[in-house]
């Protein structure tokens, strides 16, 4: 069962003393996220933005009630950090770190799955329950509380489309960045199942890109009646060339599979309105709602 966040979620920041960890801890607290502790090996006893720092999670949970974790540690140390969070049964675990070897992601996702823990990422902008809490690096100003759920594999394109949804007066409920790597903890289908149950969400913006077949599988799921609310989509990478990695490790067309056309066609067949340009998604949603 997918577990996301709300205003009551108490989180720990792993890698809180690094540049990124420090900067985003401040922004998350400003947004209203309950950051109760941080970890950084060798820096136990310090404070960041008024948040106490511990050497390990085991120590932190002795003094604090913790639900979730967000990870900013560099790639070579990320698997260990995430497994530490899995052992402490924190849920969800949000892995912001980019550049984690796929072998490590496979191990992490399998070990989390065994304990029914949700892993968001790796290489994700994180997730946000708009107006309540965010565990991520997304700029807060583009969101406004409302009725659209957003699922995206990328970061900035997700903000771009969310900004349009906000401007169109629809607003967002919860938004999740799945992550740009080939192996990630969450896929579109699991998120669609979650949004199907979420009462606040009246429609979904699905933002995909070239590589793999996650969007095609989501389309089949929608076509089979697994998700019944309106969906509008945008797929990036129509101008991409096969065999070249377009920024994300997962964004690569192999032979004829993983193309933008294949994904757009599959979604259209499932009744999803697919935007020609990112700005079209919000308009489609407004028409459908």
């Amino acid at each position: 069962m997918v577990k996301l966040i709300d205003k009551n979620t108490r989180a720990i920041v792993q890698g809180i003393t690094g540049t990124q960890g420090r900067f985003h801890t401040k922004l998350m607290i400003e947004y209203g996220t309950k950051i109760v502790a941080g970890t950084a090996p060798g820096r136990g006893g310090q404070e960041v933005e008024g948040v106490p720092v511990y050497d390990t999670i085991a120590e932190a949970v002795r003094s604090h009630e913790v639900d979730a974790s967000i990870i900013y540690v560099p790639a070579p140390a990320a698997l260990d950090a995430a497994l530490e969070a899995v052992e402490a049964e924190l849920n969800p675990i949000v892995v912001i770190t980019e550049g984690i070897p796929v072998r490590d992601s496979i191990e992490l996702v399998a070990k989390a799955q065994r304990k029914d823990i949700t892993v968001v990422g790796p290489n994700t902008p994180g997730l946000i329950k708009v107006g309540e809490s965010k565990l991520g690096i997304m700029p807060a100003q583009v969101f406004k509380e409302g009725r659209i759920g957003v699922i995206s594999r990328s970061g900035t394109l997700f903000y771009e489309i969310a900004a349009h949804v906000t401007r169109a007066g629809l607003g967002e409920s919860s938004c999740v960045g799945l992550g740009g790597d080939p192996v990630v903890g969450l896929d579109y289908i699991e998120m669609l199942e979650w949004f199907e149950r979420d009462r606040q969400t009246k429609g979904v913006a699905l933002i995909g890109e070239i590589g793999g077949d996650a969007e095609e599988r989501a389309a089949l799921f929608i076509a089979d009646g697994g998700f019944t609310k309106p969906v509008a989509a945008y797929i990036a990478g129509r101008a991409a060339v096969p065999g070249k990695r377009m920024g994300h490790a997962g964004a690569i067309i192999m032979g004829s599979s993983g193309t933008a056309e294949s994904k757009m066609n599959a979604l259209r067949r499932a009744g999803v309105r697919v935007g020609e340009q990112p700005g079209d998604v919000a308009g489609h949603l407004r028409e459908m709602l």
């Binding site: 790639a75 070579p76 980019e98 550049g99 070897p101 796929v102 072998r103 992601s105 496979i106 996702v109 399998a110 070990k111 065994r114 902008p125 690096i137 997304m138 700029p139 100003q141 583009v142 995206s152 594999r153 990328s154 970061g155 900035t156 394109l157 997700f158 903000y159 771009e160 900004a163 740009g180 080939p182 192996v183 933002i207 890109e209 070239i210 793999g212 077949d213 996650a214 599988r217 945008y234 990036a236 990478g237 129509r238 101008a239 991409a240 060339v241 070249k244 990695r245 377009m246 920024g247 994300h248 490790a249 997962g250 964004a251 032979g255 933008a260 020609e276 340009q277 990112p278 700005g279």
Partner: protein, 380 residues
């Protein structure tokens, strides 16, 4: 990172996968010498990191040392798919009874390594999957239980082997999964795996290492440049050296964005408006003014580029930093090309002000900006 055949075979041997006796040489003389020492017929194989070497004439048998010299002279200096052949692998010619396929790759859907094996070796596995899917045996590796000899025996048995051959084949399959794990492979293949009278030999070898895992494989560093020769253009090599995430495309509009998804969407929107992108350049998250300046300089200096489109959605990347980077790069290079800038988010106002002072207008939406840059580049 794609290893060359002989490099992949060096790894295979380290993991105990049988390969034919061979030597890598750079001259016909050395090829002849190896054939003389071996005293048996050989195969001469071009070492370039592209597929279809055989069809291009880059793999040829030779019966005698003299013939080996001749064949090597032809192949060395050949150009295959734009790549000059600088090395050949001279290998003992093996008497192949039957050709199999064994491969290990990452399956995104099941989020696992998957072992694929087939009795129809020698052709691309995608082709086998399309034509005769019943000939492929698939085993999903449980990340926690791992892949052990009994799993390998199961795969070998499904291909119809029994007795000594069964255990020999299972050993090769098991070792290939050890290569995949130990070397952080995105893909490793033996195609074909030659079945001989008394065992199996890897007749070809493919090993693509996960770029994100290269920090664990320092031994590959010196091979890295080789590996990119097949994949990257000279400009892409230069970009890599400068630490820029860059892909060369064949249009005339320079594209710089932040974030892979947004940058891809920028290319698409330009295309939709009748323009053609000359590159993809992703600044990534939180680029500093220096990094932005370097990126703008890199694209500005590209003679093919007629106009630039910078699209930045400021989150951790700041619009004022972006503006400063653009202005400095223009001053430094002295190159005057039309710029279209769209920026939104963190420190947007300050960014717009800096650009306005330098005579560069900013636009509100990427759609508008795309139309504008196509016009400026002289397109639709």
């Amino acid at each position: 990172m794609k290893l060359l055949e002989y490099e992949a075979k060096e790894v295979f041997r380290r993991y105990g996968i049988p390969t034919a006796q061979g030597a890598v040489v750079t001259s016909p003389e050395a090829a002849r010498e190896f054939a003389e020492r071996l005293g048996r017929p050989v195969v001469v194989k071009a070492q370039v990191a592209v597929g279809g070497r055989g069809k291009a004439g880059g793999i040829k048998p030779a019966e005698t040392p003299a013939e080996t010299y001749d064949v090597a002279s032809v192949i060395l200096g050949m150009t295959i798919k734009g790549l000059e052949v600088k090395k050949v692998l001279v290998e003992e010619k093996i008497a192949i009874g039957h050709e199999l396929y064994v491969g290990v790759t990452v399956d995104r859907r099941s989020r696992r390594y998957v072992v694929l094996a087939s009795s129809a070796g020698g052709m691309e596995i995608e082709e086998v999957a399309a034509k005769t899917p019943e000939k492929i045996v698939r085993h999903d590796v449980d990340p926690i239980d791992g892949f052990r000899i009994h799993h390998a025996l199961g795969v070998a048995k499904s291909l119809g082997y029994t007795g000594k051959k069964l255990t020999q084949l299972a050993a090769v399959i098991l070792r290939l999964t050890e290569v995949a794990h130990g070397m952080d492979a995105e893909l490793t293949e033996i195609n074909p795996l030659a079945e001989l009278e008394d065992g199996f030999v890897a007749a070809d070898a493919r090993l693509n290492v996960d770029d994100n895992a290269l920090y664990r494989h320092r031994e590959l560093e010196e091979k890295l440049l080789n590996s990119f020769q097949g994949e990257l253009t000279p400009r892409e090599m230069e970009a890599r050296a400068q630490d820029l995430t860059y892909v060369e495309l064949d249009g005339d509009i320079g594209i710089i964005g932040n974030g892979a998804g947004l940058t891809m969407a920028t290319l698409d929107t330009v295309m939709l408006n009748g323009g053609k992108a000359g590159n993809f350049l992703d600044l990534g998250g939180g680029a500093s003014p220096d990094q932005i300046e370097k990126a703008v300089e890199f694209v500005l200096s590209d003679k093919r580029i007629k106009a630039l489109f910078v699209n930045v959605l400021g989150g951790i990347t700041r619009c004022d930093d972006t503006a400063k980077g653009i202005v400095t790069a223009r001053e430094k290079t002295g190159v005057r090309k039309p710029f279209v800038v769209r920026m939104m988010g963190t420190n947007e106002e300050e960014g717009r002000r800096i650009l306005k002072e330098a005579g560069i207008d900013t636009l509100d939406t990427m759609e508008e900006a795309a139309r504008q840059v196509v016009r400026l580049a002289g397109g639709a």
